[in-house]
């Protein structure tokens, strides 16, 4: 059943349609990326009545942009095992990841990759027909003894193939999709989740989805920053809605900057470039990573490489004195480049007009991945406080969630593992929950908040423009809360954000139509970004240490005695409240992080 056959015809009037349509599904999945679709697939196999709501057609989700690979210790091309994968993940996380969750993820990664293959995913193959694997940053053999081939891949469009495969299998299993439905609120009362409120983009009508269990799988929030690899749609909606409904967000100060974004545009050039042998060079042509990470060099984890680039630039070794360096693929040869990195070479040719076979590629760090998010446990249940109290009926998985398997810095290929392992687990635990629980009653006027929000935006008479305000926010976040932070820059960001918040109340939404009103949606998304920026900066300001992606120039060392803990930031009445909970340790003891 498609979205358009569900609703009534387009509403051509200009006011907010007063009577929302009410739908009832046992399970609602918000988000049609890898996490949401894998959950939906699991739910459909369990015969739970499920609907997927997505503001984009599922096949447009940013999972489709993932390039390099999905990590799993299959040992198809060389010795490997899940325990080594765990070690790398924990060390990569700068010891902030919860080791029980990491253990589970790395073990389940293996069966997950085989299941994907059975569902039809066209992986590249070895000479004997097995799934091929390649090197990736931070993945090593035997606890750091050198790089290992662990990333399973489908050329440099692994995410595209995952997204397509899962979408196709959901079609096969006749999952109900509500495409281009923008979820704006979570119905949460007395600690029990009861559904969501959504806005139908096509005709501006409101819908209440009454459900037993709701999964947020809404992806990342990279559009908070100016230079980013993230899609326009990645505005952290799910995280912001949860935050406004009183669920604290975990570890928001940890945002990953990927070292190899196309200069000025931020478009990602996957770590697979370096996995296949690519090298980063400074303005003098030096392979500078040799100096910083002698064992694994260019394949050091992202936080480290991004900081090294920054350092080279600061010390005057950027290219032509500018703020970028070069990615060098020229020695790989045309065949490797065309066969293993075809899309990336196409990006370089299309957007920069140069040829990666012959030319050096200008790159700079690009905002890439939110390690933080909605706190969830190993069964993808949302946990709403520092005691890990479960919010009944509410689940989160994928980039919008924080399990935490990535801690302070995610390793490449581990997000695709995360979204699938925990997406499926979400589906399974929701199915269990749906079988043993009834629908909790819908509160009266469940859509009240959303209506008020829309009416406020529609009736505003200010002069402020979404584009200008968003650009200012992005510039401030990149300058003040980027690869390097200090108390000074973070305080500057906070005062900027206060100004942005008040400018937001003067935002002018010029489109008053009910049909496909993206002007209104852009404004809603901007509101989400501002709230998320606020908690990100507050958590970063409080954390007086450097760990993983969070690097404080004024506190350059990791401080385990004080800061080996997860932050939980909540926002109410304009105030941020920070609480903390312990990290789950395990077999890997703390050590200094050297590569």
């Amino acid at each position: 059943m498609s979205a358009s056959t569900m609703g009534s015809g387009p509403n051509m009037g200009s006011g907010t349609d007063l009577t929302p349509k009410v739908h009832r599904f046992e399970a609602i999945v918000v988000g049609g990326g890898g996490a949401g679709l894998y959950a939906a697939l699991a739910l459909s196999k369990e015969k739970v009545q499920t609907a997927v709501l997505s503001k984009l057609y599922p096949s447009r989700s940013h999972t489709g942009a993932a390039q390099g690979g999905i990590g799993a210790a299959l040992a198809n091309v060389e010795d490997d095992n899940p325990e080594w994968h765990m070690y790398d993940t924990v060390k990569g996380s700068d010891f902030l990841a919860d080791q029980d969750a990491v253990e589970l993820m790395c073990n389940e990664a293996v069966e997950t990759v085989y299941e994907l293959e059975h569902l039809g995913l066209p992986f590249n193959r070895t000479a004997d027909g097995k799934i091929d694997q390649r090197k990736f940053g931070g993945h090593t053999k035997d606890h750091g003894k050198g790089p290992v081939k662990r990333a399973c891949f489908s050329a440099d469009r692994t995410g595209h193939m995952i997204l397509q495969t899962l979408y196709q299998q959901c079609i096969k299993n006749e999952v109900d999709f509500f495409d281009e439905f923008h979820v704006m609120d979570l119905i949460l009362k007395d600690g029990v989740c009861r559904g969501v409120v959504a806005y139908e983009i096509n005709n501006g009508s409101l819908h209440i989805f009454h459900a037993k269990a709701v999964l947020f799988a809404t992806g990342g929030s990279g559009r908070m920053f100016k230079i980013t690899s993230n899609a326009h749609a990645l505005t952290g909606d799910g995280m912001a809605v949860a935050l406004r409904r009183g669920v604290p967000l975990e570890d928001m100060e940890f945002f990953q900057f990927h070292p190899t974004g196309i200069y000025k545009m931020g478009i990602l050039l996957s770590e697979a470039c370096r996995g296949e042998g690519g090298i980063i060079r400074n303005g003098k042509g030096e392979r500078f990573m040799e100096r910083y990470a002698p064992t694994i060099k260019d394949l050091a984890p992202r936080d480290i490489v991004s900081r090294c680039i920054h350092q080279e630039v600061l010390e005057g070794r950027g290219v032509n004195g500018k703020d970028y360096v070069h990615l060098d693929l020229t020695h790989l040869g045309a065949e490797v480049i065309e066969k293993k990195l075809p899309d990336i070479s196409d990006f370089v040719r299309t957007y920069m007009g140069i040829d990666p076979v012959k030319d050096l590629i200008p790159i700079q760090p690009t905002a890439h991945y939110a390690m933080g998010g909605i706190p969830a446990n190993k069964d993808s249940e949302v946990v709403g406080d520092e005691n890990n109290t479960v919010v009944k009926g509410f689940y989160a998985a994928g980039e919008c969630a924080c399990v935490s398997v990535h801690g302070a810095n995610r390793l490449g290929t581990n997000s695709l593992v995360d979204i699938l392992v925990f997406g499926r687990r979400a589906g399974l635990s929701m199915a269990k929950y749906c079988r043993s629980n009834d629908f909790a009653a819908l509160p009266a006027n469940a859509d009240e908040e959303v209506k008020a929000q829309i009416d406020r935006l529609r009736s505003n008479s200010g002069e402020e423009r979404t584009l200008t305000l968003r650009s200012d926010l992005q510039a401030s976040m990149t300058d003040n809360c980027g690869v390097y932070r200090t108390e000074g820059t973070l305080k500057k960001a906070l005062s900027d954000i206060a100004v942005f918040k008040s400018r937001f109340s003067k935002l002018h939404v010029s489109d008053r139509s009910q049909v496909f009103n993206t002007d209104l949606l852009d404004a809603m998304e901007l509101c989400n970004l501002i709230d998320l920026a606020r908690v990100t900066v507050e958590a970063a300001l409080a954390r007086q240490e450097s760990r993983g992606a969070h690097y404080r120039e004024d506190f350059q060392k990791r401080d385990d005695a004080k800061w080996l803990k997860h932050s939980l930031a909540s926002l109410s009445n304009g105030k941020v409240d920070l609480k903390y909970k312990p990290v789950v340790m395990g077999k890997f003891p703390l050590q200094e992080r050297k590569y």
């Binding site: 358009s4 096949s59 942009a65 293959e117 066209p122 469009r157 326009h232 957007y351 007009g353 200008t468």
Partner: protein, 230 residues
């Protein structure tokens, strides 16, 4: 520098038919056409409506007609286009608003060819083996991002909207030629119907339009050969 755009507009609340409007924005020549359109939306007229997401040609949201040719606005640089850059919605689907067209018929056609792996045999503990040679038989057609640039550039489709269209045929090809799939016959029956592969007149517009460089016409030809020779 200044960039001139001529964009087709249609507001279903007030307009009986579409019309063009001219805009000038400040952009760099190396910017994407998508960036220029978003400048118009952000600074000149907030009601201008389009779909977009990834901004680098992988999600398939922003297919449109640019100077008479279907393309993704995020994959086209301003410097490669003559000005004013004329921008219209894709042809052949009904217009919802401005550059946004109704994609439902398109996705329904896609779904009609059973675009998913069918194999009910018990799965092995590990992967189903496949040689690189076998994988290469359908690699090209796995690249499709469902942007509809091909289908909406096809004169046969313009003339007959019952035609399943090149994108759905690409999806069928992807599975018919996958050595792991067991439903090739079923799919060949579907695309062998009168609104299927045989409608294709090998005009090659689809191949020219495909932003992913898929050899669409060739894939349709391979389906036709398979229909005849098995």
């Amino acid at each position: 520098m200044k960039v001139a755009l001529r964009i087709q507009r249609f507001n279903p609340d007030t307009d009986k038919s579409p019309h063009f409007e001219d805009y000038t924005v400040e952009s760099e020549l190396t910017d994407r056409i998508l960036d220029a359109i978003l400048q118009v939306k952000g600074l000149t007229d907030g009601t201008l409506t389009l779909r977009k997401s990834c901004a680098h040609g992988v999600c398939g949201s922003d297919g449109m007609r640019i100077n008479g040719r279907n393309a993704l606005a995020c994959r086209e640089l301003i410097m490669n286009h003559k000005q004013p850059i004329v921008i219209e919605p894709m042809k052949g689907f009904s217009i919802i608003k401005d550059l946004v067209v109704d994609m439902e018929p398109f996705f329904n056609k896609y779904k009609s060819v059973k675009p998913y792996l069918i194999n009910d045999e018990a799965a092995p503990a590990k992967e189903r083996p496949q040689s690189e040679k076998d994988r290469m038989k359908f690699e090209d057609t796995t690249k499709c991002i469902l942007c509809a640039c091909c289908t909406t550039s096809c004169p046969t489709y313009w003339a007959d909207s019952d035609f399943v269209g090149p994108a759905a045929l690409v999806a069928a090809h992807r599975f018919i030629f996958d050595s792991r799939d067991r439903a090739g016959e079923e799919r060949l029956d579907i695309v062998g119907e009168k609104e299927g592969a045989w409608k294709c007149r090998t005009i090659f517009n689809c191949t020219d339009a495909c932003p992913r460089g898929i050899q669409v016409t060739q894939a349709i030809g391979e389906i036709k050969r398979k229909e005849i020779f098995g």
